[in-house]
Every structure is written in structure tokens, then in C-alpha cells.
Symmetry: C2
Subunit: 317 residues, 2 copies
């Protein structure tokens, strides 16, 4: 069975699509700006489960995953469209009212205006398609393809928390649990925070040669950067920041590292920079985790239990 | 049960969304142009049936419905995104390969570049979300809200054919039938032709005060124009062009009129103009069917069997 990555690669090659392959499409807008646009399709029981989340959390998450793509370009969000197909029973409940409350709460925080979309019924699984557009100064969008040999590799926060939250949900623990540590992990999974501000700061300061958001997982997303930039990477296992809550609840070190490497949906930014030390105002959580190498297509992990990393990330539940 | 129209109306009012309500969202682009963007969600067994169509026809139709929205603004299409969720059995067949062939054949005809989207699996009904963006000279997008009292009402082609095709499919006749008349109707339903060129001509000539594409049906879509423009309308039943194939296969006059009034998905353009007679190069099929009145919210039909028209259109199968 062909993977979704390979499917898109094949369509790209067959039809000569040069615009596809980054977190957002970049389109010329005017003398000052380019437009960036992203679409994210979220399908019930693939990308979310109704019994694990709430309508408000889901509304927030549907927008957050697209805002995260905007952040990964160093851009500012401006407008959104939202297409949705729901069952009759959802339609006839207050689900969508609450869903939109969650959506708009996050939208207001990032000055996103809802300008369109489509509403349909379905007899199948619920589906949301989230489309967000934004602006970035002309020619300044941070692409996956800009990593240079010798660049340092950074992430904007501790990793593995969202995957830990997914483990909790899979084990039957619910959002709202009285255990604050487990609730924190579940919240990381269900209500991701798009890193719009730090993405903009990095772009404004000219610090990021390449950038992507950690939706699939560090091992997969770093591979996307390496493939697009025709380079390799070396990671230092001891430098990868692990979500401290994982340790707190007794997750073993090697499992925590595996969640940080292969767990998706932390929605931190992964970027490369010619600078080896980066500090930005108000952003204490920037971690150097490795460097870009000339060893095209190979990701090494130093100090871990394995030496050459396979893309172990995943996109979906 | 609240209708989809009322649902969108409620969300618009609750969150003060001024940008929603036309065929496309209109966003400022540069000194010369505005951007127009539309999203259309097509759901299996609501908007299409796999046993009635082919992958190629479906690919073409998914793009055509969005291009039709671009046409209704008098705009030119530039880019598209396509999000889709399919079942494992579709994923593992050549369905999507053929689907994209249909999609790209139409895209090339209108210079549309695929710049993104998303691909997912689903255990439920197949879903496509079609997003298309385009350009229109600044301030020149033709809105639903511009109809003036005394304007003449026009359509760009005979109506009812697509609804007739749907009748054929519902009666068990298949695409590919040896009967050329029935095949023509079914083709009208399954492979709509977006009226991009005539929409652009009308906008360039400054002839259309308001415009919409006939996706829901004449009675519903004319009501959208009347509501947005705070006017009423009078239609002349004898002037409404009926798809001649309907007569040819023996559909009675009153049923044919009903299909033309209430059948959707002909994807002709409906527009209003201060001019009572319009001719455009290469466009023989422009029909004057009535006029805009001061009788806000009321659509009269002169010469039909009823005098005040209820919105009888439908969106879905």
C-alpha cells in the first residue's frame, strides 16, 4: 500500500507541481508580501475521536493545526475557511455551536477572520477541512528546502508530551482526569498551541534557514527538511528536550526518548540556523538538538540506542 | 431541523462575519487586484454517488463546481487546493489516478495550478474539499448584493438539463447509455461546464450588477440575490429557457418548467443588468427571464401555474 507521502510525491512528479511540498503554498501577492495558504483535513476516528475530546477542544484543534503550518513559514495568519460534513445527530445537537466557540476563541487570539467554507451532511465519518491564509514579507517565507550543511538544528519546546497524552487516552484516561500530570499530557494532545509568535520572530530576525512544524514527529519531519534540502542530519539524544511530565509520571527514559523522536502532534517548530546559539525575547524554550550534515538522506542519532534513524513518526491516531 | 442556509446565517450573525455570503470570499490583494477564494465540500451519497459516475467525471466535477463560483464573481482562476479522504479500498485501486486525470484535464483548460491540499483515509464516506483561488480587478468582483430595482434578470443558458439527468440516473439509466438524448442529460449532471469565460466578459463589459451561479436552482439562487440586494423579482415563465433535450424525450411542459425553476446544478450564471438586451461575442445563449422589483423578498412568476415562488431548489441528491 503506497503511503500518503509517496502518493503526493507521485502526483507532484506526474503533473510537474512545483508549488507543493512545504507547510504552506506560497503565492505572489504584492510588492511587499507573499500569500501563504494551507489546508488540513481532519477525519473522525483517524485524526480525532469524539469520545476523547470535546466540541470546543476540537474546534480549537482544527484551527490550531493550520495555524501551526502558517507559523512554520514564519508568516502571519489573516483569514480562514472551514468546510465540514457532519452526521444528522451532530447537526441536531449543540455540537457545532460549541465547536465554533472553540474555533473562534483561538481565531480571535490570532486575528483570523472566517471568510468562507462549506457545510454538508454525511452519513459517514465527520470531516473538517481547515484552510488558513496569511502573509509573509515577499521572498521571506521560511521553506523546508533551505537547510545548509553545518546548520544547527533547533526545536522550540520539549517533545513527546502530545504522544504521551495519546497513550493516556488509549489507556482509557479521560480529559478532565483529577491527576494534573496526566491531564497536562492529554491537554497537549487535544489542545495544541500553534507557535505563531516564535515563528514570526525567527523569520524577522533572519535566524531560520529552514523550518517545519512537528506534526508528524521529529524523525519524520526532520526527514522532510533533509529531503527538501538534500542534506543529512545528526541528532544528539541527550540534547533532545523531553516533556518533563513524562518523567514525572514514570515513563522510562528510552520510551520517553522514543515518544520525543517518533510521537507527533507536539506542534513545536523544528528549524535550522547558521547560528549555534539562539535567544529570542520571551522565548526561553529553544533547544539545539543537532546539526545538518552532508550525509544526504541519513539521520544519525548520537547517544541513543540506535544510530541511524528511520522515519518513525506518524500522522494519525 | 435548521437548514444549512440558516445555520450559516446564524454563525454569520453571531460572530459578525461580514466576509461570508457570496460565491467567493473577496480579499484585498494589491493595487490592481482582489483575490477571490471558494471552498466546496463534496460528500459521497450526498453530492455524488460512485455507482452513477466515473473517477474521471468526478475529478472534473469537483473542480468545476468551484470554478463556477469563480465565474460567478467575474474572476479568473489561478490556483487550487484539493483535500480528500478516501476508504482503503479506493486508496488501493486506480480510482485516484483516474480522478486526478479528470481534475487536471479541466484544470489545464483554465490555467489552474494545484498548490496544496491534504490526503487522508476514512472509514466512512468519501469526501473532497475543493478550494480555488483567483483574481479580479480591484473592486470589480460581481457580488450578489448589487441588484438594482428595474434591473433585467438573465441566465447564460437553458435550464433543467442537469436535474433531468439526475432523474435519469435515479430511474436506473446509466452514464454511457446508447440513447443520445438521455446521455446528454446525464452528462449535464455529471460533467458541468463552469462558465468562466462569459462571467469574465460580463464583468469586463460592466454589464452585471449582481451575479450568482445556478448550483442550488433558479428559485433558490435568485432568492440569494434578492436577499443580498434587498429587492424582489418577477420572472416570466414563458421566457425561461428550458433545456431542449427535456422536451425531446417527452417531459411535459409543466414538469420541465419545474426542473428549470427548482432543479439545481446547471451551473449557468444568473445575473442582473441595467441593460435589457445583452449580446456578447461568442455567447449566443443569454436569456432575459424577468426583472428586479421593489417587492423585497418576493419572487413572482408570471404565466406559470403559481404566482409567488417558494425557494424549491436543492443542493444535494
Amino acid at each position: 500500500m503506497v503511503s500518503e507521502f509517496d502518493f503526493i510525491k507521485n502526483i507532484k512528479a506526474k503533473y510537474g507541481l512545483r508549488g507543493i511540498g512545504d507547510d504552506c503554498a506560497v503565492l505572489p501577492k504584492n510588492a511587499d508580501s507573499d500569500s501563504v495558504i494551507t489546508a488540513d483535513l481532519l477525519v473522525e476516528d483517524v485524526d480525532f475521536r469524539l469520545d476523547w475530546t470535546s466540541p470546543e477542544l476540537l474546534g480549537s484543534r482544527v484551527l490550531a493545526v493550520s495555524l501551526s503550518d502558517i507559523a512554520a513559514m514564519g508568516a502571519e495568519s489573516i483569514w480562514a475557511m472551514l468546510s465540514l460534513a457532519v452526521t444528522d445527530s451532530v447537526w441536531n445537537s449543540d455540537f457545532l455551536e460549541k465547536f465554533y466557540e472553540g474555533w473562534f476563541t483561538l481565531a480571535r487570539r490570532h486575528n483570523v477572520e472566517l471568510v468562507g467554507g462549506d457545510v454538508s451532511r454525511t452519513a459517514g465519518k465527520i470531516v473538517f477541512d481547515s484552510i488558513v491564509g496569511g502573509d509573509v514579507p515577499r521572498g521571506k517565507a521560511v521553506l523546508r528546502s533551505g537547510a545548509q550543511i553545518g546548520d544547527s538544528i533547533f526545536v522550540t519546546g520539549p517533545l513527546g508530551g502530545a504522544a504521551g497524552g495519546l497513550m493516556m487516552l488509549e489507556s482509557g484516561i479521560k480529559y478532565g482526569t483529577a491527576d494534573p500530570a496526566r491531564q497536562a499530557l492529554i491537554t497537549k494532545q487535544l489542545r495544541p498551541v500553534p507557535r505563531i509568535e516564535i515563528g514570526r520572530q525567527l523569520r524577522e530576525a533572519g535566524l531560520a534557514n529552514s523550518m517545519i512544524d512537528l506534526s508528524d514527529g521529529l524523525s519524520s519531519d526532520l526527514r522532510h527538511i533533509c529531503n527538501a534540502s538534500h542534506v543529512g542530519a545528526r541528532l544528539y539524544a541527550n540534547d533532545i528536550p523531553i516533556c518533563p511530565v513524562l518523567t514525572k509520571i514514570g515513563v522510562a527514559n528510552d520510551q520517553a526518548l522514543s515518544l520525543a523522536l517518533n510521537g507527533g502532534e507536539d506542534f513545536e517548530l523544528l528549524f535550522t540556523s547558521k547560528d549555534a546559539g539562539i535567544s529570542l525575547p520571551g522565548q526561553p524554550d529553544i533547544y539545539r538538538i543537532g546539526e545538518i550534515t552532508a550525509n544526504e538522506g541519513v539521520i544519525e542519532v548520537i547517544g541513543g540506542e540506535f544510530e541511524v534513524l528511520q522515519p518513525g513518526g506518524y500522522r494519525h491516531f
